[in-house]
Amino acid sequence: MIQEVTVLSGKGGTGKTSLVASFAALAENKVMVDCDVDAADLHLILKPEVKETNDFYGLNEYLINKDICIECGKCEELCRFDAIDNFQIDGLYCEGCGICFLACPVSAIETKERVCGQWFISKTEYGPLVHAKLGIAQENSGKLVAEVRKAAKKMAQKKGIPLVITDGSPGIGCPVIASLSGTNLVLIVTEPTVSGAHDLERILDLCAHFKIKSLVCINKFDLNLKKTREIKELCKERSVEVVGKINYDSIFTEALIKGVPVVEFSDGETSRRIKSLWGNLYNKLSS
């Protein structure tokens, strides 16, 4: 049985990817997945060598053929996305429903497939990585996330790898839901700020909504000890365990600039705390 742990944060910039990169260095025999397909960063530390590239298709693209169009305006009238103006379709607004294509009385609208991103299977020093790149200004990132996770599970299955570690994306919407549904365990990385606590509650609600067990790690805990206590209280009330506290440390940035995981950059206090966090997390997975 393959276990999957998904790391989320609700709020961006809490240090999620830095921690995941350290987990990549600490965990043995696993597949790494980067589900932040909008703004993927994990590859900057894991430095993948791409082995396999796959196209990702989005909704079809539509174009009005000027030579056939009789300018009746039917398409513009029906389009709910305000994507048609002056007998032209703006790809940025078009959501690919195809109603214009179906409704055009003279069949002046053409359609074609649209590649809107790519996903990769790569080799890294820390084991296999499945990651993706969504085209600029494209939609369907939830679908791409689902695709990437599926590929990672399949690879784990084929190679007999027992663990998948997934770096999620910020927020609580479509890509996040696609990165947490069906996972075994969610680790939420938060920070002791009012915004951090606010977003933590929203993501805990989301995990509860999908009935997924969640754990919390407070990063930069010593930035505001009062807020750290409040977050611990909040977690206690909701019966969510705090499995780690990491200090506010500039070595996060230093390691990042060097392009290595924090635990490989230094073996000080912060690294010790990250190792203990991973240990706790791993025990929860196997128990």
Binding site: D38, A39, L78, A137, G173, S195, I257
Partner: protein
């Protein structure tokens, strides 16, 4: 003028900049509107602390099938680009999470058996504080489609004011919905390889959207100069740097505005606004 505040990466300080800019400008007498379009994780209200005067639920239309009229011909499922409908003898199944509310099924149904019904996806809250007209959207937990809520929120835009839009992170649909139509976009980044990588994505997005932009480096520490080199090469102006200071981080952690507690920053934010106005010309 509509100024959106965006960044590819999350947590670079978009909300901090949007709220402090709004506060500083309002203090100097500008007529101001602030819209928090990060509807998945809205935070600006934490700092602005508005009195909420209006709460408005936002609905999204999904089809409703009149089983009396339906002949189970399957036309609706055939035309649905999102595969949100499934039809078999005596049964139509709808997957509202997949629906984009395009209206195609009701328009094309040969029996006129499909009407539309509102499905609540979130709410808009509006109010004011510090002379700022403020509104934000809040997506309901478990809902996936943020853009319709953002669209609804942007209907509140008052072009006679200086409008500041706090955009969500990333470069996909919700961000585009938030940023499109802006007169200017301020990209907030941090001096790390993550910041630079995601900044490049955001720059590509703005080129597609054809919105003029400039860069603000937050948590500037004089250690990482790759962003400077990139901006120089691409000819992108860096119009402000906010130093990495524990004091600013602490004020932020308490949910307060640092330009209120450290008033010397108000002039700096007003200068930032002047630079933006200058660049627009």
């Amino acid at each position: 003028m509509i100024i959106s505040i965006a960044s590819g990466k999350g947590g670079t300080g978009k909300t901090t900049i949007a709220t402090n800019l709004a506060f500083s400008l309002a203090r100097k007498g500008h007529n101001l509107q602030l819209l928090d379009c990060d509807v998945e994780e809205p935070n600006a209200h934490i700092f602005i602390k508005p009195e909420v005067e209006i709460r408005e639920p936002v609905f999204f239309n999904v089809p409703q099938i009149d089983e009396e009229k339906c002949t189970y011909c399957g036309e609706c499922a055939k035309i649905c680009a999102y595969n949100a409908l499934f039809v078999t003898k005596g049964k139509v199944m709808l997957f509202p999470q997949l629906c984009h509310s395009c209206g195609g099924c009701s328009y094309f149904c040969p029996q006129n058996a499909i009407s539309e019904i509102g499905h609540e996806i979130g709410e808009i809250q509006a109010g004011s504080a510090y002379g700022i007209e403020f509104a934000y959207g809040k997506l309901n937990i478990g809902e996936i489609v943020a853009p319709p809520l953002i669209k609804k929120l942007k209907k509140r835009i008052d072009e006679n004011k200086v409008v500041i839009i706090d955009a969500p992170p990333g470069t996909s649909c919700p961000v585009i919905e938030a940023v499109k139509g802006s007169d200017f976009c301020l990209l907030v980044t941090e001096p790390t390889p993550f910041g630079l990588n995601d900044l490049k994505l955001a720059v590509e997005m703005l080129k597609v959207l054809k919105v003029p932009f400039a860069i603000l480096i937050n948590r500037w520490n004089e250690e990482y100069f790759e962003i400077d080199s990139y901006c120089k090469k691409e000819n992108i102006p860096i119009i402000m740097r906010i130093p990495l200071e524990r004091k600013i981080a602490e004020i932020y952690s308490e949910g307060n505005l640092f330009s209120k507690e450290l008033p010397e920053w108000q002039d700096k934010f007003c200068k930032l606004f002047n630079s933006i106005e200058g660049l627009r010309k």
